[in-house]
Symmetry: C2
Subunit: 197 residues, 2 copies
Amino acid sequence: MNRTEIRLSGFGGQGIILAGYILGKAAALYDHKHATMTQNYGPESRGGACSAQVIVADAPVSYPHLTAPQVVVAMSQEAYTKYAGELAEGGLLVIDQDLVHLNGDVHHVQARVASIPATRIAEQMGRRMIANIVMLGCLAALDHTVSAEALRQAVRVSVPKGTEDLNLKAFERGYEHGQKLLQPVPGSSPGSSESRG
Amino acid sequence: MNRTEIRLSGFGGQGIILAGYILGKAAALYDHKHATMTQNYGPESRGGACSAQVIVADAPVSYPHLTAPQVVVAMSQEAYTKYAGELAEGGLLVIDQDLVHLNGDVHHVQARVASIPATRIAEQMGRRMIANIVMLGCLAALDHTVSAEALRQAVRVSVPKGTEDLNLKAFERGYEHGQKLLQPVPGSSPGSSESRG
């Protein structure tokens, strides 16, 4: 059975849970796969770290617990510190480059690292709160567990009424950034961007 | 560690996921416990069985998989058939009595069974879609994993703007029904209502 584990993480208010919800919905409704989304409540629901665990599979997911995610998205330093280490070897780490400062640990698992100024892009578009959708767009370019087209459809039906177009634009901005990261950069491995660290 | 597993189930469109979300939020934000909520996507997101798994604990929940839930709420026959058998011994099964016809299987685990016409009550209140909140109210009376007061607060901040009062009334209707079920009935054990089966 094909099974992909994805962790989206950040802090409360960034729309991490909505992003996870959209990812699961896109996988199931539009890509016709199976998916689960688990959200953790606790101190994080009062403003600290926030995480959504999404599992996408060919068959029903009876075990929604992440063991070694193939993808970790980190939109805060705390989330990065907490979750980057769990990445599967060869996995993909996507960070908000203005919010996360890389340290050396992640190289232990030979992860591919992609960075995107998702929050800055969202701010330039006038709505900081769409950074989560920028991030989803970037993820769609870099990882094909869930198709970009399914994600666009899920974004359209999941965001607040009246914000569909803005969110879809945010998705495309992230997607374009992600595609650029796939271009080989001299002195860098494919799929990686330069880190600030 | 205290850990309670709760399964809410029914069919798509009944607000099962929202009910699970509210339950987890109430536990964490207002009762200051830890919680996870897992939703399954798959064929069920296209209209079949729908389930939310909520785990409430004293400490962070690292393993969000249900093993033997202490509480199962079933709002459809399919959900009942699928999930009643997993109840822990001595657990609590709450059914929508107009939508679920009991069979003998559940007695194998000596569950307490409570029935409430949640959907009928919601229809009498003019909004079928608040049956999920009627059900949460009933659950609050019968099981104290999450306090009724925390649930009221979580309902208030989680339902669509403008529907808060209606939803809180729905909660109280369910709560009152649940309290009545706790009264000893001649020929019935406490906490049980007569089944239709």
